[in-house]
């Protein structure tokens, strides 16, 4: 019985993997041993108002989210794509027409060999490129497929497609929308997509803060992005020392309900009005840092006049006015404003301060700008006064560099990791949220580069599809994840897939997720436990837009993501798949440069500081490296340089910051935005003065008469980027997540008792969420935790289960984004606004479908290949998992003894 310990990381954090006889036995957190370095020690108060005589240090382990502990299940999951598959009624017609595309999503699949599948893919690529040009192929990934610098979408996927030449699909900054498109016009930081710098602010908070404003923020759910549970203890420390936590969220979320001293539930989409109400109190009562604003504010008085009712609308944005919009009593708004202003207050929106569901609303940009303005008014950057939302800013050794996934230096697509940088010759683009519109309409136009970290001007670049001189797209290669639960008005993806415009569709994924079932060819990829990779905990890239996201961890950990087991069934690594296609296209050697995945891992070790800290042998043997924080580490608190007037000394800053300037035209906080006046003076969504505007799909729109509820679909607690929740039935047994009824895990949707009573809905009933775009069947959670007009259901469902496969029909999988508007935030603001959705709900008394709809397609192919195969139901409910492990073990032991 040979037990092997290896390590890996997933979006939920780092894990230790125990493998016995070729099968994964257990997944555990990485517990540091006595050879690993000591953790940082912060000296701070033991209670608010007390002396700085307590010491804080993290637990000696890396703390993943619970979803990371289900990685074994993701590997042996019922919904693994086991074999290459080809759509049964796909016809390889020579002209690409008459291929029964209208059946995509309905058709069954047959098993194919790798050669058959890959040869077909290569033939189609050649045919399409010859007929239409390289631009006719498009491809995109999910937000996160698997962790690791080799396998990541900007690495292997990018290398392949840039070498192939293709129409790139630009991602919208989905988690940041309002902040990306709005906040830079107030204070710069476009290179952080409108988020601020949190360096060393954990220490600042522990030492100084008195009030935390957690706006649209559920840190124990969104977990600092990829930082798992690294920061949970920090918030306990603050809570225990008496810091007051104020949560503002239409849902009294999971962090709020345990730690809030006060919860405010504004009507969705009205947070900007709350900002204005707070500002009104500060201005009329003189409760803001006038000296700071005089020095650092630009055209403040003109905005103040607007707040006071001296603007064109002659309406003071007083607490009474704000109460009418938000539903929060005026008295409470005044109390909030005064508490904020009279104590040392930090806070922010969402997982790193510049996120939050609130910014994914129709006028999310205005909220983002106003929120920044509020923090500015209280002297942002002074001790205990900053945008910091409790999930970042731990001590870190900034002198240790190991790349993150968004660093061009850390991608196999580029030098120095590769010998030759892959360059895409095609300039035509598509824009992710509305790819279906572009394909179906044959025309699409939009502004901006999606992720506009390179400059404010990049928000205003103009794009049109098809680009003059280019042909339309006729092939779609979809890689990893599913948009049915994450994008907008997602029933339109069905129409897109069924359009004859798409002559050929490939899906490459680990699990048989929502979009896989629309493909002509399905290529089974393996998990990152089945291949080699290397990565660092929560490192999304130092030069990129999330600089030093590792400060969201208590530890800096680089992990050798060793191969724990061989790829299961017929699956292969993404890298192998792309290499095979490249080979068939005649550039296999250029793609791989003769390197195996393990070779690439070593390149990352070599071309970073890691090789100076630990040998390759030691690193691969131990499996991880913890970068210690020096005992007297240099502090460079975020924004302190600005508040105190010395040249900026924080990492990842721009040269003008060394002159005390912000990244705005004037170098100051712009209460009237000069950049908007310059670039988009007629922007109806982002007016030169940020103002609250009722949502175009909100309580003041005509639609509200018919669909009176707001739907919010925040980043999920029991899932991440559509992974985990779909693969692990244990998670379906969590009552706050889903309820498993007749073979289907129904998603929980939350409704206030008052509205539930009106509709005769009881806790646990099936309820139908619906509007003109579609319907989703959920399980009701009747709770006082939601704002009375709000329905809350987590987005990002990886389970898509339409009752009529291949048709826009009721979904029982929980893809609530089906109901969200496809309209982008503004004519010049290309952001998504899924939290500006109106809907109605009704107690569902119709037929309850039995079983999952796609199961039978997978089962059929599995049983074709192996009559003794474990079916989906057996794996979920029975002994299928044990059977799989027994088979794999027998094969492994057999091979070993050969």
């Amino acid at each position: 019985m040979a037990e092997k310990i290896t390590h890996s990381i997933c979006v939920g954090g780092p894990i230790a993997i125990h493998t016995v006889d070729g099968v994964i036995r257990r997944i555990r957190p990485i517990i540091f041993d006595n050879n690993d370095p000591k953790g940082w020690v912060i000296k701070a108060r033991s209670k608010v108002g007390g002396a700085q005589d307590a010491e804080y240090t993290p637990n000696r382990k890396a703390q993943p989210a619970f979803i990371a502990l289900t990685e074994k299940n993701r590997a042996y999951s019922y919904d693994r794509i086991r074999y290459p598959m080809i759509r049964e009624d796909f016809v390889e017609t020579p002209d690409g027409k008459n291929r029964n595309t209208e059946n995509r999503g309905k058709s069954e699949y047959r098993r194919a060999s790798w050669d058959e599948a890959l040869d077909l893919v290569a033939r189609e690529i050649k045919r399409l490129q010859a007929t239409y040009g390289k631009e006719t192929i498009t491809a995109c990934t999910g937000s996160h497929h698997s962790w690791g610098l080799v396998g990541y979408k900007l690495s292997t996927f990018a290398r392949f497609f840039r070498m192939l030449g293709y129409t790139e699909i630009k991602d919208n900054p989905d988690s940041w929308e309002g902040f990306t498109w709005g906040a830079p016009h107030t204070y710069g930081y476009y290179w952080r997509l409108g988020g601020t710098e949190a360096f060393d602010l954990l220490e600042d908070a522990l030492q100084n803060v008195e009030t935390m404003i957690m706006w649209s923020h559920d840190p124990d759910t969104t977990r600092g992005g990829y930082a798992g549970n690294e920061s949970t203890m920090w918030r306990h420390w603050l809570d225990d020392m008496g810091v007051q936590f104020i949560y503002i969220d239409p849902y009294n979320n999971f962090s709020s309900v345990k730690q809030a001293d006060k919860w405010f539930g504004p009507r969705p989409g009205t947070d900007a009005a709350l900002c204005e109400g707070i500002a009104h109190v500060w201005i009329t009562e003189g409760l803001y840092d006038k000296e700071y604003i005089a020095k650092h504010g630009h055209r403040f008085d003109e905005w103040a006049d607007y707040i006071l009712g001296k603007g064109v609308d002659k309406t003071p944005k007083d607490p009474k006015w704000a109460e009418e919009e938000t539903g929060i009593p005026a008295a409470d708004i005044k109390a909030l404003a005064r508490r904020w202003a009279t104590t040392k207050t930090m806070g922010g929106s969402g997982l790193r301060g510049g996120f939050g569901g609130v910014c994914r609303t129709a006028n999310g940009t205005e909220f983002a700008r106003l929120m920044v303005q509020l923090f500015a008014m209280q002297g942002m950057g002074k001790p205990g006064q900053n945008i910091w939302s409790g999930t970042t800013g731990a001590p870190m050794d900034y002198n240790f560099w190991f790349g993150g996934y968004s660093d061009p230096l850390s991608q196999i697509a580029n030098q120095p990791i590769a010998d030759k940088t892959a360059v895409n010759p095609v300039t035509q683009k598509l824009y992710r949220p509305n790819v279906p519109d572009a394909i179906l309409d044959g025309h699409y136009e939009w502004y901006g580069e999606g992720f506009c970290g390179g400059g404010i001007d990049l928000e205003f670049t103009e794009h049109i599809y098809p680009e003059p001189g280019y042909n339309k797209v006729h092939m779609f290669w979809r890689y990893g994840g599913t948009f049915m639960g994450t994008m907008l008005d997602t029933n339109k993806w069905i129409k897109m897939y069924q359009s004859p415009e798409l002559e050929f569709v490939v899906n490459q994924d680990i699990h048989f997720h929502g979009e896989a079932r629309f493909a002509d060819v399905i290529l089974p990829a393996c998990t990152n436990l089945e291949r080699y990779d290397i990565g660092e905990l929560c490192n999304s890239g130092n030069g990129g837009y999330q600089s030093h996201s590792q400060t969201g961890n208590s530890w800096q950990v680089v992990v050798f993501q060793d191969k724990a087991i061989e790829p299961l069934w017929d699956s292969q690594s993404d890298y192998w798949i792309f290499a095979q296609v490249a080979e068939r296209l005649g550039w296999g050697k250029d793609f791989t440069e003769g390197r195996t995945e393990l070779d690439w891992c070593k390149r990352f070790w070599e071309k970073s500081d890691l090789c100076e800290r630990i040998s390759w042998e030691d690193f691969t043997k131990k499996g991880y490296y913890v970068a210690p924080v020096p005992e007297n580490w240099e502090r460079h608190p975020g924004f302190r340089w600005f508040a105190e007037g010395y040249p900026c000394d924080t990492p990842n800053h721009k040269p003008f910051q060394e002159e005390g300037k912000l990244g705005t035209f004037t170098g100051k906080f712009e209460f009237v935005s000069e950049s908007l006046l310059y670039f988009a003076p007629d922007d109806e969504a982002r007016t030169p003065i940020a103002t609250y505007k009722p949502s175009w799909e909100g309580h003041r729109s005509i639609k509200a008469r018919k669909y009176p509820f707001h739907l919010i679909t925040p980043h999920p607690r029991f899932d991440y980027h559509t992974q985990h929740n779909s693969s692990t039935p244990w998670i379906w047994e969590i009552p706050e997540n889903r309820k498993y009824i007749e073979g289907n895990p129904y998603l929980v949707a939350r409704i206030h008792p008052e509205k539930a009573a009106e509709k005769g809905i009881k806790d646990g009933d099936l309820i139908l969420l619906f509007n003109e775009r579609g319907s989703v069947l959920c399980v009701a959670r009747v709770t006082y935790r939601v704002e009375v007009n709000t329905i809350h259901a987590y987005g990002s469902s990886g389970i898509y289960n339409p009752t009529v496969p291949g048709e826009a029909s009721m979904d029982i999988g929980g893809c609530v984004n089906i109901l969200s508007p496809g309209k982008l935030m503004g004519s010049k603001v290309p952001g998504m606004a899924p939290n500006s959705t109106l809907l109605d709900v009704v107690k569902y008394e119709g037929e309850v479908p039995k079983t999952q709809y796609f199961e039978y397609k997978l089962d059929k192919v599995a049983l074709q290949a192996d009559p003794d195969a474990e079916t989906c139901v057996e794996i979920i409910e029975g002994h299928g998992f044990e059977k799989i492990q027994a088979k794999v073990k027998a094969a492994y032991v057999g091979k070993v003894s050969e």
Binding site: K420, N542, E634, D649, H653, E658
Partner: protein, 65 residues
């Protein structure tokens, strides 16, 4: 309090700099407090990640290429 040695202040990100021995270095990182470069040969980035302290003699000898 302030760290005066801010790399961006002294060296251009993505800039090319020549060493006395003729080696050309490309500055690839300047968000942290040490200069990080790769050697450039025939237009390609080669070799290991080179770390140069901005106040060192080696740094002082760098000339914009």
């Amino acid at each position: 309090m302030a760290n005066k040695i801010m790399v961006q202040h002294l060296f251009k990100l993505n800039g090319l700099y020549k060493e006395p021995d003729g080696k050309v270095l490309k500055i690839v990182l300047s968000e942290v407090y040490n200069l990080r470069c790769f050697e450039v040969k025939d237009g390609n980035l080669t070799g290991p990640l080179i770390k140069i302290h901005p106040e060192s003699d080696r740094a002082k000898a760098l000339v914009e290429a």
